[in-house]
Symmetry: C2
Subunit: 281 residues, 2 copies
């Protein structure tokens, strides 16, 4: 272990602070994760970690010390810093004194296989990292496999997205793709795509979703653009009354994902009870 770093001007701490910028994160393929809950999740998931940063004088819980010990046994490099040096990194006030610099991990589009029953979410041009993190959290809760980020979508490794994901950033598969690559892949593999639009005639709640599918969600302002909408087998709408004409994108995604999840659960219950789909329809 190195000596305790006390100066916020230390070059390694400078680099960690620069990870707040997307450009720097992408350049180094790294991101910064703060707080014992998220750090514990990263260690437990055997996530590739570049470095654990600890301010021993700030670390009060036995749970946190157990994870420092676990990281040490795994051979993860540990950087000990003074409380003041830690605060220079921290994104929140009163930080817990534990963080990791972790490696970004991207899955290739070729591993997406909705035809084998997998549930995925594809996001076009989502701007707000808090919304993206919340979508990852909900996707994890309904058993989705991962999230496909179509170009111009915000960074899932943004600290705000990481925090909002409540650890789902470590368990959901993340795929980044361009429009060209996605169109080409769709032409080859014919995945079941379901899109959402407030102008669609099909009520999201009255549609029978296939077992595997990609749910396509558009941006906060514009919705799904025509090129992606045209790819979808079905466009569904979430009905609304009252004076608002749209929902928050993380809310809209959750409402449709839970409908899909409820239908999947119903199917599984039937299978468990030995009733086939044909007998019921």
């Amino acid at each position: 272990m190195d000596d305790l770093i006390t100066s916020p001007a230390n070059p390694r701490l400078k680099l960690i602070r620069r990870l707040r910028e997307r450009k720097v994160r992408e350049q180094h393929g790294l991101f910064y994760v703060e707080g014992i809950r998220l750090v514990a999740e990263a260690i437990q998931q055997d996530w590739p970690i570049e470095m654990l940063v600890v301010a021993p004088h700030r670390l009060s819980s036995a749970f946190a010390w157990q994870h420092v010990e676990q990281a040490r046994r795994k051979g993860i490099r540990i950087l000990e810093v003074s409380p003041q040096a830690f605060e220079s990194l921290a994104l929140k006030e009163n930080p817990q004194g534990i963080a990791v610099v972790a490696c970004q991990r991207w899955a290739p589009l070729s591993m997406v296989n909705p035809n084998a029953g997998e549930l995925w979410v594809a996001l076009e041009a989502i701007q707000d990292p808090g919304n993206l993190g919340t979508i990852l959290r909900t996707a994890e809760a309904v058993g989705a496999k991962g999230v496909i980020l179509l170009e111009h979508t915000t960074d899932p490794y943004d600290p705000v997205a990481v925090r909002a994901s409540m650890g789902a950033v470590f368990t959901q598969q993340l795929v980044r793709t361009t429009q060209d690559e996605f169109l080409h892949w769709c032409a080859q593999t014919h995945p079941p795509l379901i899109g959402t639009s407030d102008k669609a005639r099909q009520d999201y709640h009255e549609f029978s979703y296939p077992q595997g599918l990609i749910l396509m969600m558009g941006s906060e302002r514009e919705g799904l653009s025509p090129v992606y909408a045209a790819l979808c087998q079905t466009m569904v709408a979430i009905p609304m009354v009252g004076r608002v004409d749209s929902l928050n994108v993380a809310v809209a995604t959750a409402v449709v994902l839970y409908e899909i999840f409820n239908q999947r659960r119903r199917r599984e219950n039937r299978t468990r009870m030995g009733v086939s789909e044909e007998q019921l329809s």
Copy 2:
């Protein structure tokens, strides 16, 4: 109309800036609303407005000018300011140059009447104004009447909540109450209360919700506290798989609200088709 105000140090602009603090908002019973979309909604809803603030040199759309004109005809006081003075107020970069200082409007608990079929949401100790605004927006979309804020819940008139509500802050009824007042009111009126908890045995999707009800949601970290949970006729749980053990509170509220809304829609369709509940069950 007054002369154009150019100095950010003008006392009226100073007061408007201080409305960023909850304490000052409550003291004056006012809040600050920025952007043409929200300002238009406030004017169209005949919301009580203390003052319209306009930076004429920034105002480009005819839609915005129409609303300035409409406000003038309604006798609303108009404060014209320079672009620079407006920027000193603005919460966003590149502001649209139009804002209002509006009056807070609170409804009394006595107007809440779920026994007459109304849908309400009650929130305990929600901390994040973005979550609160998003909940208002979803509540409006499903035809809820309003939101009851149990003590220690964040301020719906916080600028972040106002923006996230997308105007629902002007249409949803807002009720503020203490635990004592709420308990007393419940003992007198026996409202149907449904709470949520990840430990509940009742699946939210398999429960038949009464026509009118108050959906009780707990805080981001703690959930619903025992005193409120004990009041609920039923506690429902949202099932989850995967590594996360909770949902974002605005997402959880939306998932249950849409289940309630879907059941209401189904009932209305049956009534329209002349089929009674009894015939179906």
